[in-house]
Symmetry: C3
């Protein structure tokens, strides 16, 4: 059985996610549909880019991921489809696949233009339902990406810059919060590779994490590894630096917001 | 594989939706279950009526739709099951299927009374679980509606009046907001047929949409078709008139609430 | 087709639930996954214990229930797996299965230690994904619990005391609110057995339910069985005493919170 995942900013209040599933099952009744999340902050392409990049690796080969965060629906932006690491990704060409496309083995990638695989008529307000859902269902049934439209290269798609944290020459890392999870944990764009780089391959060096005017010394291994209501930094399940409070809520503790800066010094 | 959809006001905080699925899968392990939404405003039969009417057309023939918005659970109200446009609908007889039953080809429709298809015992607080879920699962397995109870006609069921907008003699349309979606878009009960009627078949005529003391001139084709933070009117994905704000939130922009009036003048 | 259910406090904002499903489907592509709820209050083991105990009975034999409310993830607490009433339960050993394990027919129960069934590597922050999901998927495919680790007995697992209400010698019941549902209904830990016991097997005796300084006399059979906006007590769908307000919200009506006391006098 093949799998289609959905990642959107639609929320769950309305029928939008449900009708996408109806369209998918009309084309491929045997597919399993998995919601990654529908609660990406409205139109937050960056948050969606990190989320799909964190989630896809836990799905089997051949999974088809539909990423629908699409503030310019109905305008000129294209829809793209790509095979990356033996999985499939279909999304508006607005940068939401930037972290996926930056990976090494993208092949092939196409601009989706073949109306044969769309609903008819196509609305100008809901391409998730009218284009991306039926195209994804056809891909899950095995059609080749090249049947969807002309092949394109990395240079042809929108790529967001500056998503990952930067490491300065002295090894200081300048990052920021890209998501705040359900528990109030602050998830940064500082990955383990950059932390290792900052430590200059000496993992014994103690890391200091600066958020606001507070400094957290050292990395914890678990959320419960410090006293209750004490802040800590750790490598979260996404393999990115995360700031949390044991049995508490780091968002409230630090009065933090998405995009707030986080620095790491060694 | 057959499909059962769920549309309720149960929310997702509790086990209620999950146990309905357990009951369904106990009867028909092979069915695919799709959530349309569980966030209908509590006991809002009108909002549910519009939602199922907007969503069903994206599902394949034979789909079984369970609509459980049921403020009078345990009282005398009946449960009804109907085949409409080659799909099946099961719901309390409280008007939640009004827009479906108004459609042309309802056949047959029954009052669901055959306890053989219910859980035993039946509680008086959760007919979604004890009656509608198992009955829906049996229908998805192919039992005839007539096996569920006596056949009834349109005149036998509760039908809500005044759901659709009205067109006055001079072509003015008097409608209202029936749902506000996750993005803050204001969805009215003014459909494209009524808009065309108001334009007296001259689509060149500019429409004016009045909400509060503000007038929006003309229809946009896309959400991004006006400047940012500017309000617009368009035909939404439900094929009803919708008021939105490009990259903004119309609910907050207009301080709007469900049931607020919306007028269209030509 | 086998079934796996998920019951967590992860919420739906993030990719956490989705990646658990990806892991499950990677091991067992043919399983049906049902969300019981992901909105257990953060780290509320008691609420989760009542929820799984209320929900499991509506699932068919062989269902595998994964309960992930796990404030001590990454610490020394074990993960346990048990077969109870011909269904399977996998959870951290923190008391979340207390009400299940208290049931009569637990056999067998094991401590889950066999890393062969885990993801590799195992993180210290997300055992739901790295241990419980893949183990659950293997159980759904038919592996024996004994393959997962050493067999243990009831005395070996964490058991929460005082979950159920107490009945005093004069038949007064001292309970509390353990969950407040989406409709604002106040769900207590007073079950029908205790109510019967308080009535001393004379069901004609009128029950009085005390919440705050208010007394509700008698049990209603349905939510709509009293005047609108009037409070009532009834046996809810969980088979526990529940306090509600017809077409209203008991949480707001009583300004109630979880853990508030509820007394029953006869």
């Amino acid at each position: 059985m093949s799998i289609i995942t959905l990642l959107t900013d639609f929320g769950l209040d309305d029928e939008y996610v449900g009708v996408m599933k109806g369209v998918i099952l009309s084309v491929n009744p045997a597919v399993a549909i998995v919601d990654i999340t529908h609660r990406i902050d409205n139109q937050d392409i960056v948050q969606a880019a990190f989320t799909i990049h964190s989630a896809y690796r836990f799905f089997p080969d051949g999974t088809v991921h539909l990423v629908v965060v699409d503030p310019d629906v109905g305008m000129e932006r294209a829809i793209i489809a790509a095979e990356i690491h033996r999985q499939f990704f279909i999304a508006p060409d607005n940068g939401v696949l930037s972290l996926m496309v930056a990976d090494a083995t993208v092949w092939p990638m196409v601009r989706v233009t073949n109306a044969r695989y769309f609903l008819s008529p196509v609305s100008r307000t809901f391409h998730g339902r009218d284009k991306i859902a039926p195209v994804g269902a056809h891909v899950s049934k095995g059609i080749q990406l090249k049947a969807l439209g002309p092949e394109i290269g990395r240079a042809d798609v929108v790529c967001l810059e500056g998503l990952q944290a930067e490491v300065s020459e002295n090894g200081e890392i300048i990052g920021r919060i890209v998501a705040i999870d359900h528990f109030g944990n602050l998830i940064t764009n500082i990955d383990t590779a950059r932390l290792t780089q900052a430590q200059r391959n000496d993992p014994a060096k103690t890391i200091q994490v600066k958020i606001g005017c507070r400094i957290i010394r050292g990395l914890s291994e678990t959320y419960a590894g410090v006293a209750q209501n004490t802040p800590l930094a750790l490598i979260g399940s996404r393999e990115y630096l995360e700031i949390a409070v044991n049995r508490g809520n780091a968002r409230r503790f630090f009065n933090a917001q998405k995009d707030d800066p986080v620095q790491v010094m060694v």
